[in-house]
Symmetry: C2
Subunit: 250 residues, 2 copies
């Protein structure tokens, strides 16, 4: 049986009661949680198990059975994704959330699809946050990825967005596609890695030069040229896998 | 400018002319290839470049400019995917084709979604073959992945389908999820690797036992529990990446 997990605000916990309302309350109604059933609730820092006491049209009230501190992650992988068609970005947000990404930031590159106006971004970012929330609940994460407003390629490479990008910065560069990759050695032992992936059509020569002169490390993701959204998913999945496999004690 | 690539039958090549008709002919009309433009055509073994001579409602005639033998791949990765919802299988076929998969075989497991009747399979497999063809053309592969009719888990593990699964067989087992993975060491230097991934909900205990007793090697795909379709994509992408990185000369 599936035990449902909800991301909630700490304000929803009062002593040993959890009051699910708003979006998590709606979600609990959709999945038809009934009195006596167990669910999980995640706040920044605590993972609760609770038993449903009563339901209402607004949500439900649960009694805390246990509360376990959430360990900080061993490592963080941040994705900077050259902006592509919004529907493909939906897939990138969903899949990289499942894979454990710490943050996703769309990046406006010279070959990116045209930007919507500012209200367009607000709608898009809200949508990606809902997708990330749902993917995080379903894949039983203990934290939500941060979905950020877009940055321009210049902001990112000129240091105007510091401390973003975080940690060691990897440039997934299709110019290296087909050459064996030393990505494993490059990320071994790191605690924070950012990966920058180009839009459909790749980075311009000028962008590659700017990224390299900023110290970003070019890597190949494998033998094949990949569509942008597949490259984003693989970049995050590969770095998570390689960091996990090289973690102390493994 | 994009140079379009078409997978064709050798029978479409006559001396130094290529006659695109049928599906590739339709595709050439859709992308509006014009006389004088260059396109590529792939047969099993040869990669042609050709220049459009004339177009017709059925397709076009091109004159061969060059024909280059296609090298056999350095390695093959075969996917055996516990059957999941057909729409999710669509994504698996598209993404693993982009990543270079050699074949995709749906596997009927005890927790798979119910099977369609036989005519249902015919429609589904045809659909997946069209998706694979389109993904292979767009990602500029030099070979098509084989999309096979489903096998039952028993056929696969009892050896009734020999020589399938090919080469060393990896079992992506969520029971190991979270433990560091030695997948890199396990596949290093192999030329043919098959990966077996469970359906939504995973393999049953009985199935895991049967797979292990058949010598399939259990591995973890990383620290997180992944939805079945994400696990399929990552399993293929990881093994391709690791084989490529461990190839002789790298």
């Amino acid at each position: 049986m599936t035990i449902y997990r909800f991301f909630i605000d700490q304000s929803m916990v009062r002593d040993d009661l959890i009051l699910l309302s708003g979006d998590p309350g709606k979600h609990a109604r959709v999945v038809r949680l009934r009195p006596g059933e167990i669910f999980q609730a995640v706040t920044p820092g605590l993972l609760y198990s609770a038993k449903v006491e009563s339901t209402s049209p607004q949500g439900l009230v649960g009694r805390v059975v246990s509360a376990v501190p959430i360990e900080p992650p061993d490592f963080e992988v941040h994705l900077f994704a050259g902006m592509i068609k919004a529907s493909k970005m939906d897939l990138v947000v969903e899949k990289t959330t499942e894979l454990g990404v710490a943050s996703v930031t769309p990046v406006i590159c010279s070959r990116s699809v045209p930007n919507p106006d500012e209200s367009g971004w607000e709608r898009k970012v809200s949508r990606w946050r809902r997708i990330a929330l749902s993917a995080a609940e379903q894949s039983r994460r203990t934290s939500l990825p941060e979905i950020r407003y877009p940055l321009s390629f210049d902001e990112l490479t000129k240091g105007e967005s510091a401390p973003i990008p975080e940690g060691k910065v990897i440039l997934a560069w299709e110019g290296l596609s087909g050459t064996p990759s030393d990505l494993g050695k490059i990320v071994a032992g790191e605690r924070r890695v950012s990966v920058l992936v180009g839009p459909e059509g790749g980075f311009s020569d000028f962008e590659v030069e700017a990224a390299l002169s900023r110290g970003f490390i070019p890597v190949s993701l494998g033998p094949h040229l990949l569509p942008a959204e597949t490259a984003c998913i693989m970049a995050v999945g590969l770095v998570v896998f390689l960091l996990h496999s090289s973690a102390p004690g493994s």
